[in-house]
């Protein structure tokens, strides 16, 4: 059995990126949209770790970057969920279709 090549991993991460993008554009629930954004960020994490391991094993730039991305994604999710909770208090719904008072 041949070892997994970089191409396989890049294929996975690109697919994950576009699945996240598709989810962000089609889902109407705010929590699900957040999950879609997490998919995008995680695909970037896979990219960084894979590039680090296969192409530039000399230093750990990519691995460190991905650790920081995970931490920042957590912070972002915390603020976003706080906002969503506040929206739920005001609108009684977390569907984006119910929060469109401003248009044009």
């Amino acid at each position: 059995m041949s070892p997994i090549s970089l191409n396989h991993i890049l294929f996975i991460s690109t697919a994950l990126f576009f699945i996240g993008m598709y989810g962000l554009f089609t889902r109407r629930n705010m929590i699900t949209m957040l999950m879609a954004i997490e998919l995008i960020l995680n695909s970037v994490n896979i990219n960084f770790v894979a590039f680090n391991k296969y192409l530039w094993p000399g230093n750990l730039d990519g691995v460190f970057f991905s650790i920081f991305i995970i931490a920042i994604a957590a912070a972002e999710a915390a603020v976003a969920i706080a906002i969503i909770i506040n929206i739920y208090r005001n609108h009684n719904s977390i569907d984006v279709a119910d929060t469109e008072e401003m248009k044009y």
Partner: protein, 470 residues
């Protein structure tokens, strides 16, 4: 020098110290009234702004991740000045708000992020500081917790900002994969036009364009500006956008100078689209905040033209324009925030007959709008003039002609507001307003800045001189 990490990072330290002072005032046993807290914080912000003039040490820190020179310090001082003016103007709003100290804590952490962003010399640092400046802003946009539109603005801001930083990160990861480095210096040496690198650069460019609200990526701007509290809107439209423009210039001119032909084409298309769409949508707006949102989109189009010149003069003209833009936009937002705090009115029609009741405030708003439109005695004219001059250096007359036509269109909608204030009669105009001395100081500073920084030519020459040493 053993303590150079203190003096090179002076702006960051002083913003952080301010943040902690506000925090200790908040959690201390003694309860401080909102008014005295605002006096203390505004005094500290003034000290923070003045202390910026005494920073002088150039250098790099954290293994060249952090860099500081005279141009970067000047940009940081501009941001400090903008924050001080915004803080003076929001006195009315904050003195009645229950969470005034939290407002300053979040604001200052975002400001610290912008300082680090301006000084970043590494894509890793750039990403971290970008997020440090963007995430607190989402919390700020939702600061009027009971208002329905405020929450809507915040969720729109955080989703689009998270999505744009996702795209930006994709670009960074591809550049890292191709070059194996994140440092600006190494990337600028090895950057070539090969497809993978170029694709990474386009992703990075798109992430920046999102934050700048350039046209294909502008959809969040108007909603966020309308829904957020006015103080936050002015912060978003002036400080946040100014910092992004500065970083964008660094990225294009220093890091990606090797692919200048590619990004010139991108800037060409984006700047034309940004000006035209910003102007056309501004014409039909009724809400003043939304109107200023689209006008600020159109202004970004002009800045992008200036940047496309790719010379020292281009950097200087963009920095000068941001300075003028801080004065003129903040003057306009200052009047709007006062009126909206006292009466709750934000529509252009509500401003009919504003001159008959508040002549001085009407004049301040008029001068600000003239400056945004670029009418000669004001600094806005010189700002746009320098931008178009540096854009014209690239010998692309199509771009300049389209920009000139757009300036004529923009005159129409700016003067529409002026006409409503001066000429239209109204049975129930906005009553006579009494701003406190703090907002009045802010108006005086802004108006003086608009009138003097253009006529007194030293400002632009000073910026040119520090750009050439950059």
């Amino acid at each position: 020098m053993p303590f150079s990490f203190l003096s090179i990072m002076q702006f960051e330290w002083s913003a952080l110290i301010l943040l902690f002072i506000v925090l200790f005032l908040r959690i201390g046993k003694k309860v401080i009234s909102n008014t005295s807290l605002l006096y203390i914080v505004n005094g500290l912000l003034l000290i923070n702004f003045i202390s910026g003039f005494f920073a002088h040490e150039d250098g790099t820190l954290f293994g060249t991740m952090f860099v500081s020179d005279s141009l970067i310090r000047f940009e940081k001082s501009l941001l400090n000045l903008g924050v001080l003016i915004i803080s003076l103007q929001s006195f009315h709003w904050l003195s009645k708000h229950h969470h005034a100290s939290e407002f300053y804590m979040i604001l200052l952490s975002s400001l610290t992020g912008m300082f680090f962003m301006l000084s970043s010399n590494n894509l890793f640092m750039l990403y971290l500081s970008l997020e440090l400046s963007a995430i607190p802003l989402a919390a700020l946009a939702n600061f009027d917790l009971q208002k329905r539109v405020s929450g809507e603005a915040a969720i729109k801001y955080i989703i689009s900002s998270a999505f744009s930083s996702g795209i930006l990160l994709m670009g960074i990861s591809l550049i890292y994969g191709a070059l194996g480095t994140l440092s600006f210096d190494a990337i600028s040496l090895n950057m070539t036009g090969e497809p993978l690198l170029l694709f990474g650069f386009i992703c990075l460019f798109a992430g920046f364009a999102f934050k700048l609200s350039a046209v294909p990526f502008h959809l969040w701007t108007a909603d966020v500006y309308e829904g957020a509290p006015v103080a936050v809107t002015s912060y978003l439209s002036v400080i946040s956008k100014g910092a992004m423009v500065f970083v964008f210039i660094t990225a294009l001119f220093r890091v990606f100078a090797n692919v200048a032909e590619s990004w010139y084409q991108m800037l060409f298309v984006i700047s034309i689209a940004t000006m035209i769409i910003g102007n056309l949508f501004a014409i039909r707006q009724q809400n003043l905040k939304r109107f200023l949102a689209f006008s600020s989109i159109a202004q970004v189009g002009f800045i992008l033209i200036g940047i496309s010149g790719h010379s020292d003069a281009a950097v200087a003209s963009a920095v000068y324009f941001i300075m003028v833009y801080i004065f003129s936009n903040l003057a306009a937002f200052g009047i709007i925030s006062l009126v909206s705090d006292v009466t709750g009115k934000e529509n252009i029609d509500d401003y009919k007959g504003f001159y008959s009741t508040n002549p001085l405030l009407a004049w301040v708003l008029t001068i600000a709008l003239f400056s945004l439109a670029g009418i000669p005695p004001t600094a806005g004219f010189f700002g746009k003039f320098f931008l178009l001059m540096s854009g014209a250096a690239a010998d692309n007359n199509t771009l300049i002609i389209i920009a000139a036509l757009n300036m004529i269109v923009s005159l129409y909608y700016y003067l529409r507001v002026v006409k409503a204030m001066f000429m239209d009669s109204n049975a129930q105009p906005i009553e006579k307003l009494k701003p406190g001395w703090m907002p009045v100081t802010a108006y005086i500073v802004c108006t003086a800045g608009i009138l003097l920084s253009g006529i007194i030519g030293g400002a632009f020459e000073y910026i040119i001189s520090i750009v050439s040493t950059h």
